[in-house]
Structures are given as structure tokens and as C-alpha cells.
Symmetry: C2
Subunit: 352 residues, 2 copies
């Protein structure tokens, strides 16, 4: 039978609370489909940092490289500066394993209320395809005249032809596979003099190979405004690391709660393991209260199984998620319910 080895990194904050629910659901679905799954836990986190000075061991990436996929909760906690924790754990994994696609579906589920007036399920149903390894997320730069009135900080963004074209290609292909055949690119070429005009030129070049698609672009400022005014306009969105990050938090917020949104960090060539996580972070403000919404993690688990080739497991999990939300079974507070993290995880598991 099929067997998968999964590396599990609960990480920080509510990551530790939602991951067990994802695992419970995965186990139930695997059982149903006769798939065997082995989970290996890694306690890498800000706590590790406090005791060892590192977010993960020196051979951490090598350890992870042997797995079929990585299932991650969240990284970051007060006490460790965010740029230290993230550049010590989440971001190096995305980079070392060339997970250059960050795929984030955004969908308004039946049973949830959008904060936007008069939006129904079907009105919000798009993908954000985010570049995941270069762009604005860069450690290149530094500070001059440190500690004086004259301090100057420089921060570079790096865009390569290879890095830009491959994410665009993924997005164009995804748009082609959809009914609406509509791709929208996020830019800011009026303000960012070098990077975004370049991005736009690569979009224009690739659009020539996809005459069957409707391709447009919006500056990131008006893009965020449009998501609120007319989310139904969008089908597949492609953006740089930063712009994709922004649109894939704003989008889910328009579907009622960002806590249901999944994030698939994909290495499409499957040379390296891909990583699956919820979009929400470690949420220190609600950590330890057992009220975090596990749906983003469960949806991420479904995407993981799809990536590993088990569409059936994906569909089983997503049907259960849809049913739980539609029938408003054991929903957490952010969805207007009163259930705990575990109760909702159990409700989805029971539906499988």
C-alpha cells in the first residue's frame, strides 16, 4: 500500500494547538483510504531558540530533506524578534527546498458570513499564487552609521528572470485550467522603479503565449481596494513574495476569518519536500486557550495529500470541512461559534 513519511513541526503559539487536529483528521482520512502515514515530530520553535540559540539544529534542513512532505503549524513568539525566528526556521525551509510556489486558495464557504456586505458563497473563489523564495523577502542590506543620527538602512529586493518566469508560468497554467481563464498580476511599477517594471515586462512577455487567457494587472494599492469592492472579479492572482503575502491575508479576511486559509509551499518539480501550513501565524494573543480555529491547518493537510497524489484523501477531508462549516457544527469563536480547537477538529474527524 501507499506510505508517506511526514515531518511535523508544530512550532509556536497556536501552531501547537492546531497541528494535533490536522493529524487527527489526516489519520482518519488515511484509514478510510488504506493509506499508511508516519509522522515524525520536531519541536523546533522559539522555545528551542531560548535554550539553544537556534531555531533548528545545524543539520535541520538535512533531516527534513528525507521526508515526503513537511506539515508546519506556525513560527514566531514574543521574546524572539520576528526576523530572527522566521529567518531561522520558516523562510530557510522555503528556500532550501526550492518551494518557489506558495499556493493559497481563497473561498467563501457556505455557512460563513463575509464581512463584506451581500457576498454569497461563489462570489469569493480565487487563488493567490505567490512567489515564495526571492523578491522583497531578502536578507541583503544593512545599516550604515549605526547608532547615530545619520543611520541609513538599505534593504534590497532581488528578482531574477528564472524566479519570476517560473512563478508566472505556474500561475498562467493554473488560470488556463480554470473556467474563467483570468489572471491578475499585482504590481507597483509606478513607485518601485526597477523591480516592478521588470515584473510587468515578464508578465507581458508570457501573456503572448497564453492568448486564451484574460490577463490584467493592478497596482497593489488599488488591488487591495478591489478585493473589498469586487472580489468576484478575481480568479487567479499572481504576486511577488510581499504582494502575494498581503493579498492572501486580505482575501481570507473577506471570507469571514483568516484562520481557515491554507498555504501550500510547493516545489513543483518534487526534487525536495513541499511544506503545508495554515496562513495564520502563531497568534500569541490567543495561544494556550484552546480556541484557535484548526480549519486552516486541516485544509493545508488536504492540500498536502493532493500534492502527494492522493486526490481522494484531499476530497474526503474537504467534504468533511465543508459539511462542518455548512452545518455549523462545533465552530470556533472566530466563526461565530463557541467550540474549542479540539471539538472542531473532532467534528471534522467524525464526519470522515
Amino acid at each position: 500500500g501507499t506510505h508517506f513519511n511526514i515531518a511535523v513541526i508544530p512550532g509556536d503559539g497556536i501552531g501547537k494547538e492546531v497541528i494535533p487536529e490536522g493529524l487527527k483528521v489526516l489519520q482518519a482520512a488515511a484509514g478510510k483510504h488504506g493509506i499508511s502515514m508516519e509522522f515524525t515530530h520536531f519541536d523546533w520553535s522559539c522555545e528551542t531558540y531560548h535554550s539553544t540559540g537556534k531555531m533548528m539544529p545545524d543539520d535541520g534542513l538535512e533531516q527534513l530533506s528525507k521526508f515526503d512532505a513537511i506539515f508546519l503549524g506556525a513560527v514566531g513568539f514574543p521574546g524572539v524578534p520576528d526576523h530572527i525566528s522566521l529567518w531561522g526556521l520558516l523562510l530557510p525551509i522555503r528556500r532550501a527546498f526550492n518551494q518557489y510556489v506558495n499556493l493559497r486558495p481563497v473561498r467563501l464557504f457556505e455557512g460563513l458570513q463575509s464581512p463584506l456586505a451581500n457576498k454569497q458563497p461563489g462570489d469569493i473563489d480565487f487563488y493567490v499564487v505567490r512567489e515564495n523564495v526571492e523578491g522583497e523577502y531578502s536578507a541583503i542590506g544593512g545599516i550604515q552609521y549605526e547608532g547615530t543620527e545619520d543611520e541609513v538602512v538599505s534593504q534590497q529586493s532581488i528578482f531574477t528572470r528564472k524566479g519570476t518566469d517560473r512563478i508566472l508560468k505556474y500561475a498562467f497554467e493554473l488560470a488556463r485550467s480554470r473556467d474563467k481563464k483570468h489572471l491578475s498580476s499585482a504590481t507597483k511599477s509606478n513607485g518601485l522603479f526597477h523591480s516592478m517594471p521588470y515584473w510587468d515586462s515578464r508578465v507581458a512577455a508570457m501573456a503572448k503565449d497564453y492568448p486564451d487567457l484574460k490577463v490584467d494587472q493592478f497596482h497593489i494599492d488599488i488591488f487591495t481596494a478591489n478585493l473589498v469592492r469586487m472580489p468576484e472579479f478575481y480568479d487567479v492572482i499572481v504576486g511577488s513574495n510581499l504582494f502575494g503575502d498581503i493579498l492572501s491575508d486580505l482575501g481570507p479576511a473577506c471570507t469571514g476569518t483568516i484562520a481557515i486559509a491554507p498555504s501550500a509551499n510547493i516545489n513543483p518539480e518534487k526534487t525536495f519536500p513541499s511544506m503545508f501550513e495554515p496562513v495564520h501565524g502563531s497568534a500569541p494573543d490567543i495561544a494556550g486557550q484552546n480556541i484557535a480555529n484548526p480549519i486552516g491547518t486541516i485544509w493545508a493537510a488536504a492540500m498536502m495529500m493532493q500534492h502527494l497524489g492522493s486526490q481522494a484523501m484531499h476530497d474526503t477531508i474537504m467534504s468533511a470541512v465543508e459539511a462542518a462549516i455548512r452545518d455549523r457544527l462545533s465552530l470556533t469563536r472566530d466563526m461565530g461559534g463557541t467550540a474549542s480547537t479540539q471539538e472542531l477538529g473532532q467534528a471534522v474527524t467524525d464526519l470522515i
Copy 2:
């Protein structure tokens, strides 16, 4: 009596349609308050670029420096790449005249419908204080291996202590002057390794001098989500050039239409003229149809008079704007009406 010399740059697209309405309103209010105003028109625009190869003459900035203020419509039109038009006209003015504060009020007016469910006037009422001359908007960078598969584009952001502290100072002072005494800083220090941790450190340093304020910070991704989920939480928002740009488009979108939003590019020391413009751009898609909403421009005119010291003219103009919207007199299409640009401009003028 008081006399003001105003440089007027209608610019491109709907800029040419809304500026005359702003002038009409200014003239009416000036008459009422016994103030004399002289308007000098400059036709600098993408059309100028087509005929001269430049967005403005070589001595353009020198010409503008003699005025009390600059009243601008919009810059940018298809046919001239956005980075050429904007770096040829709008952005050099902001920089040459050290208009380092971009102040953008966001308010839900009585009479307008928010696209957010269940939001009333009063629920959305905040300021975006945007850094306006440095940060991510930079022409530093370039391309290596141009035209080959190996192309690498580098784009720098520059943050200085001076540039950061002065915009923070403005925002802290503004927050102190308000009832809620609440300042929210936009960051992304978990992804942008150098610039945003620096920004955060300057916020933390300055917060020590303002113990009477509630100061918090949000990564830009969750910040956009929060604006949609709980706009009433925010009072004064401070952000870098890019993050301020994004939040000041998204905010107004939540108030029903971005076309009512004004943008004051302020040189607080008054060493140089400040510039006032609507937030909306040139909107090529609706240009020439006489349907553009002039309210953003009219509100910008009111902010100009406030900056020039005539609070009375500001209040007269804003009372007329509020009344026109509340009574839904001659509203344009984006506000659910059927009136033309001119009809709405006339309605506001008549109320004065």
C-alpha cells in the same frame, strides 16, 4: 486681505476633469471668506511627455517653488510607462519640496454605504500618516545580465533615521491630539530583514516619549485583514511609503469609494510648497466621460486651505461636502448616483 498663489497641475486622465471642480469650490469659498486666490495652470502631463520627451520642463521644480501650494489632479496614462510618468512628475515634487508627510484622512460619511457589512459613520474614522519621500519608493537598483536567461534585478529601499523619526514624530503628535490616543504602526519585520526591524525599533524608541498613547504594530498582511474586519479599531496609522500607500487605498475603499479620499503631501516646516491631490489616479478607464467623482479633489482643496492657515475655508468646504453626500445631492455613479462630475462640483459650490 489674504492672498494665495496656487500652482495647478491637472495632469492626466480624470485629473483634468476633477481639478476644475476643485477650483470652482475654492473660488466660492474664497469669495465667502474674503480671501483672494490666484491660480496658475501648468499643463504638465503624459501629453507633454509625448511632445517634449519630458513630463515637466527642466526648470519645472523651480517654477513651482514660488507658489504657496500645489494643487494636482493625477499623473499617468497608457502610452507612457508608469515609472516614467510618475518619476518624471509626481514623485520629484514630493521629494524636491521635502513633502515627507503624506496625510490621508479616511472617514465613512453619512449618506454613503460601506462595502463592509454593518458599518456606520463613526465606525470608520482614522488617519493614515504615510512616509512620502524615501523607503520602498527608490530608483536605486538596476539589472544585471540584461536580456538573458540570467537577468537579476535589484531594487533597494532606503530608510534613514532622520526620515523615519520625523514621520513617526508627526504621527505620534497627531495621535496625541486625538481622543483615542491610539497609534498603529504597519510593519513586516518578519519578512523584510533590515528595513522593517529598523522601523520597529524607531517606533519603540519614540513610544517611550509618549507614555500617554496606546501604541501597537501589525504586519502589513494582517493589517489589511484587520482594516476589513475591524476598521473601528484604528485611529492613527503610520506606515512607510509603500505600506502607507496600500492602507490609504484600502481604507477609503471601505468607506464606499476611493474617489472621495484626499492626499496632502506636506512639508511641515513650510520651507517649500506642499501639494494637495486626490488619492485616486488618472483612471484611464473612465477618463473623458465626465463621470469622475470630484470629492477627493474638493476634500484635498479643503486640506490645502487648512495647511495655508484658513481653517474657516476648510470648514466651509467640508460642511458643503458633508451636506451634499448626506442629502445625496447630485452624486456620481461610484456613490450610487447618476450625476456628472460637473453637476456634483456645482452642487457643492451651490451649498457654499
